[in-house]
Structure formats: C-alpha cells, structure tokens
C-alpha cells in the first residue's frame, strides 16, 4: 500500500509537527503560567489573540503571514537582510505558521489545568520560601501535567492535519514545504486516487489514534 506514495511528505510532516510541538511546549508553559496568575485587560487581550486561529479561516492567517513575511515587506525584508532568513515558501516559515496556528490547541488545555490547581498548593510553596519558577516546575506543572500532555497531543495532531496556512505560506515545494496534506491534495488534482487514498488513510488512522490517546490521558486525569 505504501509503495504507491512518496514517503518524503510524511517524514516532513512528522518533522514539522515534532518541531512545532517542542517550540509550543517551551512557549506555552510560561505564557500559560502568566495567564493563569490572574485576570487583567492585558491577559484578556492576549487570550483573545491566542485563540483567534480557532475561528479564523487558516487561509486568512496564511495570507497575512505571507504578506507580512514576504521579502518585499518591512519585516520580511529586515529578516532577509539582517539574518538571511527567508520565511515564505520555506520550511522555517512553515514552522512559524504552525506555531501560531496551533498555539491555542496547546494553550487551552494547559491553561484550564493550571487554573484548576488549588491556590493553597501554590500558596503553601510560597510560604515555604520557594521562588515562582521553582513553584511552577515542582508544584504547578506536575499538578497540571494532564493539560500539558493533552495540549502537546492536540498541537501535534493539529499540525499534522494543517493545510490552509501551509498552502498559503509554504506552497508545494518537494522536500521543503510539501507535507502530507498538500501531497494528498496534489495527488487528487492529478487524479492519482490510489496515492491520494493512501495519504488520506494514513491521516485518518493517525487522527483516530491521537484522539484515542487523548481520551486515555483525560480519563487518567479524571
């Protein structure tokens, strides 16, 4: 069954999803800790901005990223001139787009789990003379680990299934931006249904397994 497809888009998808998830893990933990510490206008605004990709068409986000990061734009030009970094139609650009697009999928479960932590646990650690970073690492995150796992699984799966942002920002460049969802679309356009079926079946089985794992994580947390 796997003989009729190019494995490269699958490997590229795995690489993109793994990198995106790792970056999101590093970003989301301090971000969620800040959001969970209280309510303020700044926090509300940040939460709305982070959640935008949940309701925004991926093509809209991809379009604005394409415009903003294009070498002819202010930011894109500056990145190219100072760091030789070209983010449109490149794998690096895909990583950036995926991180932004999957951010709410990582943030929401983790934030919910952090907010469910009894305040007295954190206060007890504070009275024991611990710094906030130590409390986050030793008390808060272990208590919210099911949210962290759930967020990582969702972010990984969401990146694997991404299409709109990838197409707008990365196009369809073999070995660079042609991920599984793009390869599936390309095979379908070429009327190569057996290959399209294979890509689609792999994505369906993968998504099913991800949701099954998520269910088990949530059941264990409950």
């Amino acid at each position: 069954m796997l003989n009729n497809i190019d494995p490269q888009p699958l490997l590229l998808t795995l690489k993109l999803a793994t990198l995106t998830t790792l970056i999101l893990l590093i970003l989301a933990v301090p971000l969620c800790a800040w959001l969970a510490r209280g309510r303020s206008r700044g926090r509300t605004l940040a939460e709305v901005l982070i959640s935008l990709p949940l309701v925004l068409p991926p093509t809209a986000l991809g379009f604005y990223l394409l415009i903003t990061l294009s070498p002819t734009s202010l930011i894109g030009g500056w990145l190219l001139n100072h760091f030789s970094l070209r983010l449109v139609f490149s794998f690096n650009g895909l990583v950036l787009g995926s991180v932004l697009f999957s951010l709410p999928f990582m943030v929401q479960p983790l934030l919910a789990a952090l907010r469910q932590t009894p305040i007295n646990l954190l206060d007890a650690a504070r009275t024991l003379g611990k710094r906030e970073a130590v409390i986050l690492w030793r008390v808060w995150l272990p208590h919210a680990r099911h949210g962290l796992f759930a967020g990582a699984i969702l972010a990984f799966a969401h990146t694997v299934g991404e299409f709109g942002v990838v197409l707008m920002l990365g196009g369809n460049i073999p070995d660079q931006t042609r991920v599984a969802s793009i390869a599936l679309y390309q095979e379908m356009e070429a009327l190569n249904y057996p290959a399209a079926h294979t890509y689609a079946a792999i994505l369906v089985v993968f998504s099913f397994l991800v949701l099954l794992t998520l269910q088990r994580v949530q059941r264990r947390a409950a």
């Binding site: 009894p118 007295n120 646990l121 206060d123 007890a124 650690a125 504070r126 009275t127 024991l128 003379g129 611990k130 710094r131 030793r138 008390v139 272990p142 208590h143």
Partner: protein
Amino acid sequence: MSLQIEISLALPGRILDIHTDLPKGGCLALYGPSGVGKTTLLRVLAGLQQPQRGSVLFDGKPWLDTDQRLLVPPRSRRVGFVFQDFALFPNMTVEGNLAFAQPRPDAARRAYWLALTGMTAYAQRSPRELSGGQMQRVALARALASEPQLLLLDEALSALDSRLRADLQDALADILAETHLTTVLVSHDPGEVFRLATQVAHLQPDAPTRYGTPREVLLKTNTLGRYALAGQVLLIEPAGVQARVVIAIGIETLTTLLNHDEAAALKVGQRVSVALNGASAMVSAA
C-alpha cells in the same frame, strides 16, 4: 521574636480590626465562629493577602505597612503555614513534601519530624493514600521542617480523633516550649486553646475583638457560677462545681479523655476542670 499586629480587614458587610502584641515564643489563638475572618488574618500574616490598612512587625522588622506601601513577600518571611485543607503536594511522597520544605536537605531532621508526628511508617506513601488525620500530621511536620520563625496553624488538628488530637496537642506544646516558636493558631476548640495558647483574640461578628489569656477570654461569671458557653463547648471552673452547677458525667467517658495515671488518680467528689462538647452534654440548673 515578637509579633506586632495592627490590621483593619474589610470583610463582607463589616470591618475587622485587630491589634495585638505577641511576645517571642508566645502562642496567640484566633478564636471565634466561622466566617469571622480568622483564616484571612492568618493569610495576611503569611503575606498571601493584603489588608485594607495596617502593619505587621516581626522581631522589630516590618513585614507589612500599608502607609509605606511595604509588603515583604511570603517567601522572605519564613512562616510555617498549616492549611486547613493541608495543601500537601500530591506529586511528592510524604518525605518528599518535607524535603521540599527544608531550606537545606537534612534526612536526619526529616526523620525526626516524621517520628514526632507519628508518620515514619508512611514516609514513602503518596498523600493520596493517607487519611485526613494523617495528612494533617504531615502538613504539620512539613511546616516544622521548613524551620519557620513563625508558625501559623489554621485548625491544624481539627481532622484528628480526640485521642490523637490530645497526643499531638501535647507534642505541639512540647515543640513550642522547646523551640520558643512564636505561633498563631486558628481554633474552634477551647480545649486546644487552653492547652496551647498564651493569648486569645476572640473574634466576634458583631462585637469588638476581645483579648486576654484563655481564662480571661473564654470564662466569664454569671448567676449560676463561673462558667460560660463558648461556641459548642461548655467550660466549667471548679468554683462553678462547688456553687450551683451539678455535672453528671459517666466515669467511662471521662477516663477515655485521660491517660491511665490521670484516670487512676481520680476520686469521687474531687474538683476538676472539664470541657464538654455541647452536642453531647445537657446541663440544667439544680
């Protein structure tokens, strides 16, 4: 290390004012009904909450001064706080909770506190595997393991049965006497207040806070003799027994509250001071 408190706390519908001076090694009991602000006051002393106005001085150093906008963070105060819900870290073992609390790792001291609270056999258990009373003992051991300069106990012994509570009250009294640890405790139990406290602040919802020794605050005179109904507990002084109040109490009930030597020394007609739970005692004028 003395503790000076001058605090105004805004509670729903009223302001709670409290001002007291606790000498080094003293034990102040915050006594009163639920919702009167006792736990909030403990949180203010720990630096976890800010009052509307006030100041807290510990050993001459300001911990809080709202006029000066000064607030020393909880981690710089070195307080040992036993929370009402224990607040044990579920991702650590019992011993792990103590190790996390220690300023420097010290296995011998951990073993000492575990032995003192009777938790040595449970050192490698998760807090989830413990009963309420066991969790309370671990919370106390953890607070002591942090080498605090001020101990804050929020109904620290309430989840224990009466025998264990009496044992731990004795142990705690010994620890406080030995370490000269300045302590503030919240309690509904006059027996506990009498056993541990050197001073009492009786917080009341619609009257000014009363201060004094446990005897001064919890006992008052009226026409039936020297007794007072304080919360759920009836306290009776020997003078009351001699005057007009007659107490009938089964000797078996009384002996379960005392150790063997004390029980053996009891004689019929002997004057005793007793604290009875109001829910299980009935008193009438003779």
